[in-house]
Amino acid sequence: MALDKNGIAQRIAQEVQDGFYVNLGIGIPTLVANYVRTDIEVEFQSENGVLGMGPFPFEGEEDADIINAGKQTITTLPGASFFDSSLSFAMIRGKHVDLTILGAMEVAENGDIANWKIPGKMVKGMGGAMDLVASAENIIVAMMHTNKRGESKLLKQCSLPLTGVGCVTKVVTSLAVLEVKNNQFHLLERAPGVSVEEIQKGTAGTLIVNGEIPEMILS
């Protein structure tokens, strides 16, 4: 069965390692924080100027001056810090953030990503995404495998304006975990109960299936 957003987040949380500084994008990536193992140390950075984000505040304790990049009220954990936008992107551009997780409208087999604009329809802007994908060496895309019309979001080539070129290394979708290398999507894991054929059908880009593909283990 295809994963829902929480399932995708749950699988991605397994990629988060002890000692990682992690930047979570808006949408599915935000949910990843809920599933990270509690026996490892991870710090979440938000590009609007906070390191060491904690859970949402208790009702009545929200502070308009303490938000994340999704404009949600948040709290901070002991050891947190606030800083200006320039220093925040110094963390990102300077490769101090270890893992970037973000959503996408399209990913191409060469690692290109598009997630900020649909010409003539939707122009919200790139926010910090272009800085993140241009600098991060460890980028995981979280998205549904196909769009609402059932069309593949894993393409030979992006059709929408790009956010970054050749930067995506891993994609976790509602159907699969895929590595992006050598201009191909390499199938690593299937969502529970999802067949290789279903994944193949939903993937417009080149899909490499090498040997037996295990199912994800979502504890």
């Binding site: 938000s46 590009e47 609007n48 100027g49 906070v50 859970p55 949402f56 505040p57 208790f58 009702e59 009545g60 304790e61 929200e62 502070d63 308009a64 001056d65 303490i66 938000i67 994340n68 990049a69 999704g70 404009k71 949600q72 009220t73 948040i74 606030f82 800083f83 200006d84 936008s85 320039s86 925040s88 992107f89 990102i92 551009r93 290109d112 900020w116 003539g120 122009v123 919200k124 802007g125 790139m126 926010g127 910090g128 995404a129 272009m130 800085d131 241009a134 600098s135 304006p161 790009l162 956010t163 970054g164 070129v165 050749g166």
Partner: protein
């Protein structure tokens, strides 16, 4: 001590005119110069170019200037959450220059620090880099981005003193420090104007040299865009 204090928002905005380029601090509605924005609406300046990470919401923040059609051009990184903005942009009434967020911050800082331009990897290979100089360093491609040039910068701080020293709170800091000194005149509004000598010199975020005018702000609404909470267990 060089005194930067002005008596109110009217005096602080003296000299602001139509067709100027204005920088405004804030991320979403967090840390925006609420008093300066309200006064810009009153002053009815027109055809201004606004450099600000976001464009507010329909009835707050820069959305108020959009409603009155006072803005000719927005330079921002993210402009969702605003229907009037979308309408003006799609109809061609409003010019929009979308810039990666880190690039936006650094274009402010470059202006503040006297750098004419800088190379950043953000946007390389995308339409953001179209028409711009690109260059390779150590096998990686970069885009040359010029510093901003602005007439006024409006920033909001938590505390400040008459010397122009500023201290920010939480994530309302964001672009505000980077915009100080990045325009010809920097106007700071503060929630609390404290006596000179009470701010710890080690913990001043922006030294007064970057600020030309400072005033005690009033009636801060500090609206929350996404109130997310959890229940006490």
């Amino acid at each position: 001590m060089i005194n930067k204090k002005v008596k109110n928002v009217q005096e602080a905005l003296q000299g602001v005119q139509s067709n100027m380029t204005l920088m405004l601090g804030g991320f979403g509605l967090c840390g925006i110069p609420e008093n300066a924005i309200a006064e810009l609406v009153k002053l009815e300046v027109r055809a201004v170019t606004c450099i600000s990470n976001n464009a507010g919401i329909d009835d707050f923040g820069l959305g108020r200037l959009l409603q009155k059609k006072q803005i000719k051009k927005m330079i921002s990184s993210y402009v969702g959450e605003n229907d009037e903005f979308e309408r003006q942009m799609l109809s061609g009434e409003l010019e929009v220059e979308l810039t990666p967020q880190g690039t936006l911050a650094e274009k402010c800082r470059a202006a503040q620090a006297g750098f004419p331009a800088f190379y950043t990897p953000a946007g390389y290979g995308t339409e953001v880099a179209e028409g711009k100089e690109t260059r390779e360093f150590d096998g990686k491609m970069y885009v040359l981005e010029p510093a901003f040039k602005a007439d006024f910068a409006f920033v909001k701080a938590w505390k400040g003193d008459a010397a122009g020293n500023l201290v920010f709170k939480g994530t309302s800091r964001n672009f505000n420090p980077n915009m100080c000194g990045a325009a010809t005149i920097t106007v700071a509004e503060v929630e609390e104007l404290v006596p000179v000598g009470t701010l710890d010199p080690d913990h001043v975020h922006i030294p007064g040299i970057f600020v030309q005018r400072i005033f005690q702000g009033k009636n801060y609404e500090k609206r929350i865009e996404q109130r997310t909470v959890r229940k006490k267990q």
